[in-house]
């Protein structure tokens, strides 16, 4: 129990520290460092407390349910391997915190740095001790995201931004692959629990999806561990502050990939595929990294490529996967972390104290910073694999595996040679690092005067170098047990104890080491000068800059190609969009009906009526005419549209829908007025559009004509086959039977509208209201095109003056029609429930009455006499309709339950008094309001324009009066 809590503390501490530091003020540098350092120390203490249990080979587990329904739980699992790794991470974290507190400038937002750093540590620890492979991915991705923030800490620089982005993209892409792999793995194993996955190696390797899993898994691991060809992000990430590099890019994040390789070796490893892929990649990376490192002039660049190379070495070991290899891999993970962290820190000190990291400018620094220099020399020696240092030991073990382990493949045969060659380069670049920076003449023209850093900045380096020495000399006493523990945790408890000695006799690995040392020295001595003068990178190879390639690829993949593709697969123009809709509708409907649709053998049909057919001759001619004229003769098209509408109304009447005929007619009238009001603002098309006669335009028209014809045919066909089908039993019958008894009205259509399906009407009036408001709102900010701003041509002509009284006589009749229309409106309203009519018809009628007054007079004349507050009407109408509906609540009925009754009124007799009528009142008020609002809002534009013209004219006149001289000058 206590262990489980301890594990939770272990993982929780860094995150808590992150939260605390994040909430510190910008300049509380020291506090942030202390919080971070103490929390790391605390975590390390916790880890140590757990050592006793770990050492017995026990695996500690704790699970907090998070999303158990998809098997994603916060399961933590601490064994020897992860224990060792966590210890490494925490220890280096402490050192980095110390180092950073001296390294970072006062002007930096330091608490944020620590916050990120702590969060990163937490994520890293989480990844290492995750007992659930999905959670492993979660933490894995978290490390990518946070490392992005850390690399971009100095985001003012372009290099930092680019480096951060590239690192994120590469590692996150790998993470996505890893997620895919884990999902499939979980699918195969039937659980995301790491224990069960680790135990299911045979099942996984035998599964047909194994290659897929392996491929995706390796993509994840290789990207994170900067393996060839995904190595290029790491040098770019060197734009990060040095503490970040020391931590992430030597000890922790980049090791996540190799950690994963080792961890999952029991599941995925041991196959030929694994060997080729992993060892092959590892060897290539090892060699390439070492070669490139030699040619880098940037200190951190050299270290970065060196890191890549060492990661390749570890990867190669994981690929071999023998007991010794795994042990060596773990050992080298540790060793590399130690010497590389110290080297990064040293490089940081040099950068910090001299102002440059360019080895061509640095020289003879041993005189100015002897301590740092010594430390760096020791650490470099470890990196080069000089005996008595830790790097030597693990490299020897690698050589031993390369030589001793066989599986009979060509890669296996080549390994010793490749290992030696890469070692030669490693020696050479280590030598270069030391020689150029610390020896030679005193540097000239450095940005800063070099000197030793503050002692505390050096302490972490000192400690690390000490570790190099101690482990290098006394491996069995120091790291030996822990390593064995870790290897056993990976490969199983039956693993025999491996003794790590510094002397194995004068064997092949030893010869290889000596060869490398000698070869490297020679190589450096011969080529030192040329390297210094050469470009950043090995000859020939430097032209292939992976980073550049990647950047170009990224640019192409994430910008150029998508843009081109997006243009190709999308459009911003309306016509293609509408064409696609129509064509898709046609194609899909046709596909559905093709060869399946049946035309009924006993079609329903009504007798042919010549008059009706003739009316449709008119209707069709009008429709086609409207289509024909709409471009150049809008006015004509409008009238033809009216003609087609009229015949439509007649059709409704003829086919027993008097309500529809009435409503459609009323709407026709208002629509005509609306369109005309709008037409005022579409200036007449004076000339034909230039392109119209050209071939492409003609082709387009032909194509559209074809589409239109097919659409028409299709609709006609659909309508015909359904119309002629026998009538199936439908819910319509019920309405006929119940309209009178249950709905209290004889006009079934109206009863449906205000009672059976009143909810539709309720929504419909809301639509009308919204549209009214939208029209109003839009027109408030309306600006006419410049050519429509002046008064229409008809009013400009000299004859126009004679038109003064043209309305005097007509307006009399129009005025007198006003009360008549009110009565007609009332008539429509009253009879709606029993006969054609209803609130909508009444409302539109009244709106037409208003419209007529506006047309017969001027806006100002009407509005001086009639106060129409359309929006008020709309609000009241909606509220009446809604309140009627809610009224039913009082009687225990649902919304819009109507209450119909015929009430006997003295003298008058029975009158229908349905609540539906009240509802209809609401509809009426709303329709009046909305229709009038729309009409008047457009009409007001003319008034506005006229006022504006007057205003401009008076301004111009005033100007003319005040400044005649200016005018003359013009």
């Amino acid at each position: 129990m206590i262990e489980q809590n301890l594990i939770l503390i272990l993982i929780g501490l860094p995150f808590i520290a992150a939260l605390i530091t994040a909430s510190l003020s910008v300049n509380s540098h020291t506090a942030a460092a202390w919080v971070s350092g103490l929390s790391m120390a605390g975590a390390l203490a916790v880890l140590m407390a757990l050592h006793d249990r770990i050492v017995t080979g026990e695996v500690l587990r704790v699970t907090i349910p998070w999303v158990p329904s998809i098997g994603m739980n916060l399961t933590f699992r601490l064994d020897g391997f992860s224990w060792l790794f966590v210890a490494l991470v925490l220890a280096i974290a402490i050192l980095v915190v110390i180092y950073a507190s001296y390294y970072l400038s006062r002007s930096d937002p330091v608490p944020r740095f620590y916050s990120f750093l702590m969060a990163f540590t937490g994520a890293m620890v989480g990844m290492l001790i995750s007992g659930n492979i999905l959670m492993l991915v979660v933490f894995w991705e978290l490390t990518s995201v946070i490392s992005f923030l850390l690399i971009g800490y100095w985001h003012q620089g372009q290099a930092a931004r680019d480096g951060a982005r590239m690192a994120l993209i590469v590692t996150a892409a790998g993470g996505v692959c890893l997620l895919f792999a884990m999902l499939v793995l979980g699918q195969i194993v039937g659980s995301y629990d790491l224990d069960r996955v680790l135990a299911a190696g045979d099942l996984v390797r035998g599964h047909r999806l194994y290659p897929l899993v392996l491929g995706l898994f390796l993509l994840g691991a290789f990207t994170k561990s900067a393996q060839f060809p995904f190595h290029f992000w790491l040098p770019g990430a060197m734009a990060a502050p040095t503490p970040v590099s020391a931590f992430l890019h030597s000890a922790t994040m980049v090791k996540a990939g190799v950690f994963l390789l080792v961890r999952f070796f029991p599941v995925l490893g041991g196959t030929e595929l694994w060997f080729y892929a992993v060892t092959g990649t590892g060897m290539a990376t090892l060699l390439l990294g070492a070669m490139i490192a030699l040619f880098r002039h940037d200190l951190k660049g050299l270290l970065a490529y060196s890191t890549i190379s060492h990661l390749g070495l570890i990867t190669a070991l994981a690929g071999i996967g023998s007991e010794g290899a795994i042990l060596a891999a773990i050992f080298h993970i540790m060793n590399h972390a130690v010497f590389k962290a110290s080297l990064f820190m040293a490089a940081g000190i040099i950068d910090h104290e001299t102002g440059t990291r360019d080895m061509r400018r640095l020289s003879g620094l041993i005189r100015f910073m002897p301590v740092t220099g010594t430390l760096a020399i020791v650490a470099s020696a470890a990196m080069a694999g000089v005996p008595l240092l830790n790097g030597f030991l693990s490299k020897e073990m690698f050589f031993a595996e390369a030589v001793d382990w066989h599986n009979g493949t060509w890669l296996d045969d080549a390994m010793p040679y490749l290992a030696t060659i890469s070692s030669i380069f490693a020696v050479a670049y280590s030598l270069r690092f030391i020689h150029t920076v610390f020896f030679g003449p005193a540097p000239v023209d450095l940005p800063r005067e070099p000197h030793e850093p503050s002692a505390w900045m050096r302490r972490p380096v000192e400690l690390l170098v000490l570790v190099c020495l101690v482990v290098g000399i006394l491996p069995a006493l120091t790291l030996g047990p822990a390593l064995n523990l870790a290897a056993r945790a990976v490969l199983g408890p039956d693993l025999p104890y491996y003794d790590i000695a510094i002397w194995h006799g004068f064997n092949t690995p030893m010869i290889m080491s000596l060869l490398a040392l000698a070869g490297g020295t020679v190589l450096y001595l011969v080529f030192a000068a040329r390297i210094a003068e050469g470009p950043e990178g090995p000859p020939l190879l430097h032209r292939i800059r992976a980073q550049k390639i990647f950047e170009r690829m990224l640019l192409a993949l994430s910008w150029k190609w998508p843009r081109a593709l997006h243009k190709l697969t999308g459009t911003e123009r309306l016509q293609p969009q509408l064409t696609i809709i129509v064509v898709l509708a046609i194609v899909l409907t046709t596909a559905t009906l093709w060869q399946t649709v049946q035309i009924t053998d006993r079609p329903r049909s009504n007798p042919f009526n010549i008059a009706f057919a003739l009316m449709w001759v008119v209707g069709a001619a009008c429709a086609i005419g409207a289509a024909w004229q709409a471009k150049y003769h809008r006015f004509a098209a409008m009238m033809l549209l009216g003609g087609a509408g009229l015949v439509t109304c007649l059709t409704f009447a003829w086919a027993s829908a008097p309500d529809l005929a009435v409503t459609q007619l009323l709407v026709e009238i208002v629509t005509t007025a609306l369109l005309l009001l709008g037409l005022r603002w579409l200036p007449k098309r004076r000339e034909e559009i230039a392109d119209d006669k050209l071939l492409p335009a003609r082709m387009r028209r032909m194509r559209d004509l074809g589409i239109a014809a097919i659409a028409g045919l299709g609709m006609a066909f659909l309508a015909y086959i359904i119309m002629t089908r026998p009538l199936i039993p439908n819910v319509g019958d019920w309405f006929l039977r119940n309209a009178y008894y249950e709905g209290g009205g004889t006009n079934v259509v109206n009863v449906i509208l205000v009672d059976f399906r009143a909810f539709d009407t309720f929504g419909e009036i809301t639509v009308l209201c919204i549209v009214g408001l939208t029209v109003f709102a839009l027109l408030r900010r309306f600006r006419p095109a410049s050519e429509s701003r002046s008064s229409p041509d008809q009013q400009k002509d000299i004859h126009a003056a004679n038109l003064r009284d043209y309305l005097v006589v007509p307006s009399v009749i129009m005025r007198w029609m006003f009360p008549v229309m009110i009565v007609i409106s009332a008539y429509f309203f009253m009879r709606g429930h029993d006969l054609p009519g209803g609130g909508f018809s009444a409302g539109v009628t009244l709106a037409i009455a208003f419209l007529l007054q506006y047309m017969g007079h001027s806006v100002r004349w009407v509005e001086a006499r009639l106060t129409v507050l359309p929006i008020r009407w709309m609000g009241v109408g909606l509220l009446i309709a809604g309140a009627t509906g809610v009224g039913a609540f009082a009687f225990g009925y649902p919304f819009l339950t109507a209450h119909a009754q015929y009430v006997s009124v003295p003298l008058i007799g029975k009158v229908p008094a349905a609540t539906a009528m009240l509802f209809d009142t609401g509809v009426f008020a709303l329709v009046v309001g909305a229709t009038v609002l729309m009409l008047i809002a457009i009409a007001h534009q003319s008034l506005r324009s006229a006022r504006l013209r007057e205003q401009e004219a008076s301004e111009a006149a005033a100007e003319a009066a005040s400044g005649p001289t200016e005018r003359e000058a013009v």
């Binding site: 999303v67 699918q187 209450h899």
Partner: protein, 581 residues
Amino acid sequence: MTAGLNHLIIAPILIPFFAGALMLLYDDRQRRTKLLISLGSALALLLTAIELLNRAKGSALSGGNDIGFYLLGDWAMPFGIVLVIDRLSAMMLVLTALLALPALVYAAAGWNRQGQHFHSMFQFLLMGLNGAFLTGDLFNLFVFFEVLLAASYGMLLHGSGQLRIRAGLHYIAVNLAASLLFLIGVSMIYGVTGTLNMAHLSNLVPLLPESERPLLHAAAVLMGLAFLIKAGIWPLSFWLSTAYMAAAAPVAAIFAIMTKVGVYVVLRLSMLMFGASAGASAGFGAYLLLGGGMATVIFGFIGVLASQGLGRMAAHLVLVSSGTLLSVTGFALMGGGSAMLGGALFYMLASTLATSALFLLIEPMSREEGGIAALLALTADAYGLDEKEEDSQPETGLAIPGTLTVLGLSFGICLLVLAGLPPLPGFIGKVAILRGVMASEALPAGLGWAFVALMLVSGLATLIGLVRIGIQTFWASDGVVPRVLALEIAPVLVLCAMIVLLSVRADDALRYMRATAEALYRPTIYAEGVLRAPRVVSSPTPAPAPSPPAKPAAQAPSSAAAPAPAPATPAPSAPNGEVQP
């Protein structure tokens, strides 16, 4: 929530309706009152929706009448219109309310002054959305679609300006075409099956004679096109990015739910009509949805990569999300299982919240000197001769400290969700979907793998695109920190908090979604529940019980016209048997 009358079900429609109507009586200058009404309504909606969700949760799979229904006008099924509340619709209601409240608060920072009657229109939009989620009647669905569309036209055009008008024109034209298709489809369904009730339809589909089936499918295709246009499926989605980009920030934030309405309807109707129990029609359209959905995801992430501005990018993210959901719907029709579908619903919740937050972030993130004041000045009405525009004063609100940090944090949260990165719910949702897809035996393996790969790639593309924009905005911009009001950032933070909450309580949410998905796989629960919905008045003859005024409509005419109405009104007592072919 068993049978009976429950006005709470209609509250999500009535609350915004009355709020919107009431505000029409106020002058547009009484902003404070309007804002209060509006916020009050949104809050009430949220509470109602949560209560409905709680009730829906209680009884989703108990069998039989376990959904809530509301017979409008107390008319018997399947003749009248019914509102149906089940887990899915309750969830959509909650989501709508969750988006509405922050958007409204945000709008209070000055956006509501850019045009007329913003709040009424906003409320009507909510009414339309809620109506579309609740209704159980196809034509009523059309009506509510029109309500929400009309309101969305108004909202999109809110503030006017060239970009909005151009986008609005396209948006309206495309949606009008879609509405026409919808009408054709609905009427064909009526012509072929004789009903408009979704539950009734679900029961009729398996019984349909083979001669009528192709016509039913054709109708479904036409209607489906209309919904898919709203859902933004490729290649019917080109209107979307410009429209969303052009809309004012709070408008775009609520628009985040608009594509989901299309998805919701597609999901609802296809599961009801073409689910496993649909006989010869089972699985109709599955491949179309899957193909279209995947194409949409591809187009969406290509668009994300190709976008220069955050607005357009966010709009394409909407497409990615909606394409994912459509593909999953396709899988669901193939029998993909509730694990996958439940994951998709969870993903929908997360991605909608995140896109909404992102839309709210866009403007403050890209705001230069002056902020809203400048914006208002741009749109200020040159023709406002009639009334003085006191609108142009910028809101003097509380500017928040640490602006960039807060903005960056919020942006980061949105990014993680949309790119599907852990530990936020985007990741959880994706994992749930992918797990479900991989585990499902019913799905063609190749398609499943293609989909999984597509999901992962689209997440990566999203990451790349958003990181690019984020770096540009937060890292590469040197200069003035924008002045952002607390009123603008608080809603974003609320949305982010909800996202975080969703990831903390992911298991509860996922369980809910999975149960929802299971219910969707059993359309008979829905259909039987609705069709057995009892009226308050059990029969047209007066009830002997001393109940409140029993439906007088039934008595009055019969007392007026002496003979008993018995032969004329047999229907209401037999809602089910009578109208089946």
